[in-house]
């Protein structure tokens, strides 16, 4: 089904309008498997609206979204997980009172969809989910903190856990919404390394403000402005593009 050339995720003439205002205005996006694809743009460019359409939080007013060639435009958010999409949140969204391990275990269990409607099985017999959680803990370097409530992690660690929960579903496509937002300068290299590593075995759609991260790990960059795609290309071509500079300068002016 998936080959190197067919897009993993594709949007066609995607539009999200709030009344007369079009937050997303006819976006064609094409994410190739095995790449880190970043969407950037000045504030109000429509990045987050686009992201919400992709995750299923908002239903686009026009156009379609295809995952592996399958139309998922009308799939609800929870239904997209089982099809191979997982997301992180821009504002940390964890189960604060549950342990770090339980956060990850729930994330691993969620991908099984309706099978979690199991009234009778004990938690500790669901070995597969526990193993996944253990594995991801290891990967996030959080094994030592497995037992404490997620709300007691440092802010940087919470951001890491936020991304970690998305990979528990073993998705084909990871959607990361500003993973470094609110992170201290000291924690950012850890996150950059983590995303870089994840990029080796996942396809990633990244929304990010921090340009040094964007330029260092992206394979493809899409620049959005006023709901439309302004430029798309490699980091180098985007860096040197005059229109991109103007869009960002326009914001500053």
């Amino acid at each position: 089904m998936t080959n190197a050339h067919a897009p993993l995720l594709e949007t066609r003439r995607l539009e999200l309008a709030y009344g007369a205002f079009k937050a997303v205005d006819g976006v064609d996006l094409c994410i190739r498997p095995g790449t880190i694809h970043t969407v950037i743009g000045p504030n109000g460019a429509g990045k987050t609206s686009l992201f919400h359409c992709l995750t299923g939080e908002r239903r686009p007013t026009h156009g379609s979204i295809l995952l592996d060639g399958r139309d998922i435009t009308r799939q609800p958010a929870h239904g997209r997980v089982g099809l191979g999409m997982a997301r992180s949140f821009q504002i940390t969204s964890l189960f604060q009172e549950l342990s770090v391990h339980e956060n990850l275990r729930l994330a691993a269990q969620g991908v099984d969809g309706w099978k979690a409607l199991n009234f009778w099985q004990r938690l500790d017999t669901r070995k597969r989910h526990i193993d996944t959680a253990d594995e991801v803990l290891e990967r996030l370097n959080l094994t030592e903190r497995a037992g404490i409530p997620a709300g007691e992690l440092s802010h940087g660690q919470q951001r890491i856990l936020e991304v970690g929960m998305a990979i528990c579903a073993r998705p084909k496509l990871l959607l990361l919404d500003e993973p470094t937002s609110g992170m201290g300068i000291d924690d950012i290299p850890t996150m950059t390394r983590l995303i870089g590593e994840l990029g080796r075995d996942h396809s990633i759609l990244l929304i990010e403000h921090n340009m040094s991260i964007v330029m260092s790990i992206s394979d493809t960059i899409t620049v959005m402005n006023r709901g439309r795609v302004l430029v798309e290309g490699t980091p180098d071509s985007v860096r040197n593009d005059q229109r991109v500079r103007e869009a960002y300068l326009g914001e500053a002016a």
Partner: protein
């Protein structure tokens, strides 16, 4: 059964506790403690009827706890199921000559179906709007019961509700006429429901409910169909509450209109909160203390509900985990003190 699995859980707890420590975690002793309480209640209390009332309300509080403590749903609709369970089982026994277990099964079924309908409607909204919908529906149910006085007896309540024996065909096995015999039946049903609820709350389903309570948006993003889970727990809770209502009608030989009043919903909620949300044993504590308080105080002072208000305020402000939370923190402190003694 519980002690064995409890041991497994506590072994795991060292490495990977399944939930926040001190709140909802494995407490292998509580099933045993529940059984001890159930056996001792009729011995300690002056009457078996009082003990029966405690367990019936503990059942209703436990069902409410599944919604409030485990899923974070504050529902004022519990009286609908409690009242409907009482009326339907009573009418079934009066008009169709239903036996004991058929009447109880009828209550379970009616409770489940009503909860499905109420759930489908209310779960469309969240937070305060959800609460208002459950309030409105309870008011509607009350006036419906009031209006249908040919069926429900209206203000007078439904009189002459029988308490059929445990029978096989036409042979009576155990008569439940004596308060103690009826207590036995209620005690067995309560224990079964408690153990089932315990099992359910520690299943993948139960862990998902906790996740929904903690953070709905995240739970949905992880792939859980939130509405489906909420409706399932609503149905479960409604069925158990209706069973409690049916048993209450059999206990009183009477189904009063107050069963389906908003006040009943409040009372069940208060028991749940005072006992401790998120702890099944807490529901038993909450129901026990409120029924007992009511029994003792109402004899002395007709305005005793005022004191109940004070107790509720005290628990909400000073004991966030309710009686159960207070008890566990006391136990922990005692344990820490004794381990200090050993070291010294």
């Amino acid at each position: 059964m519980d002690t064995k699995t409890g041991a497994v859980a506590s072994k795991r707890n060292g490495a990977t506790p399944l939930a926040r420590p001190g709140r909802i975690r494995w407490a292998p002793g509580t099933t045993l403690a529940m059984l001890v309480v159930v056996v001792l209640l009729p011995v300690v209390l002056p009457s078996a009827t009082l003990a029966t009332e405690i367990l019936i309300f503990a059942m209703a509080a436990l069902a409410c706890n599944l919604l409030l403590g485990y899923t974070g749903l504050l529902s004022f609709g519990q009286a609908i199921f409690f009242g409907a369970g009482a009326y339907c089982s009573a009418l079934g026994m009066l008009h169709w000559q239903l036996g004991l277990f058929s009447a109880l099964l009828l209550a379970l079924g009616v409770g489940a179906v009503l909860a499905l309908l109420v759930g489908l409607l209310c779960i469309r909204r969240k937070g305060i709007y959800f609460v208002m919908l459950t309030l409105a529906l309870t008011q509607m149910a009350y006036f419906l019961a009031y209006t249908l006085s040919d069926w429900t007896g209206g203000d007078n309540g439904l009189l002459g509700v029988p308490r059929p024996p445990i029978a096989l065909g036409d042979t009576t096995l155990v008569s439940l006429a004596s308060p103690l015999a009826f207590y036995g039946l209620v005690a067995v049903l309560f224990a079964v429901i408690y153990i089932m609820a315990r099992r359910i709350t520690s299943s993948p389903f139960g862990s998902t409910l906790l996740a929904i309570r903690e953070n709905e948006a995240r739970a949905a993003a992880l792939g859980y169909d939130i509405r489906l889970f909420k409706i399932m727990v609503f149905v479960l809770s409604g069925a158990i509450t209706a069973l409690a209502g049916a048993l209450y009608a059999m206990l009183l030989n009477f189904a009063p209109l107050s069963n389906i009043e908003l006040l009943m919903s409040e009372q069940i909620l208060i028991m749940t909160i005072i006992g401790g949300t998120g702890s099944l044993f807490g529901s038993l504590l909450g129901a026990g203390s409120i029924v007992l308080l009511g029994d003792i105080l109402s004899a002395i002072w007709p305005r005793w509900m005022l004191l109940l208000g004070v107790a509720l305020i005290a628990v909400v402000i000073f004991m966030r985990g309710g009686l159960w939370g207070g008890l566990t923190s006391l136990l922990q402190r005692a344990r820490r003190a004794s381990s200090h003694d050993k070291e010294a």
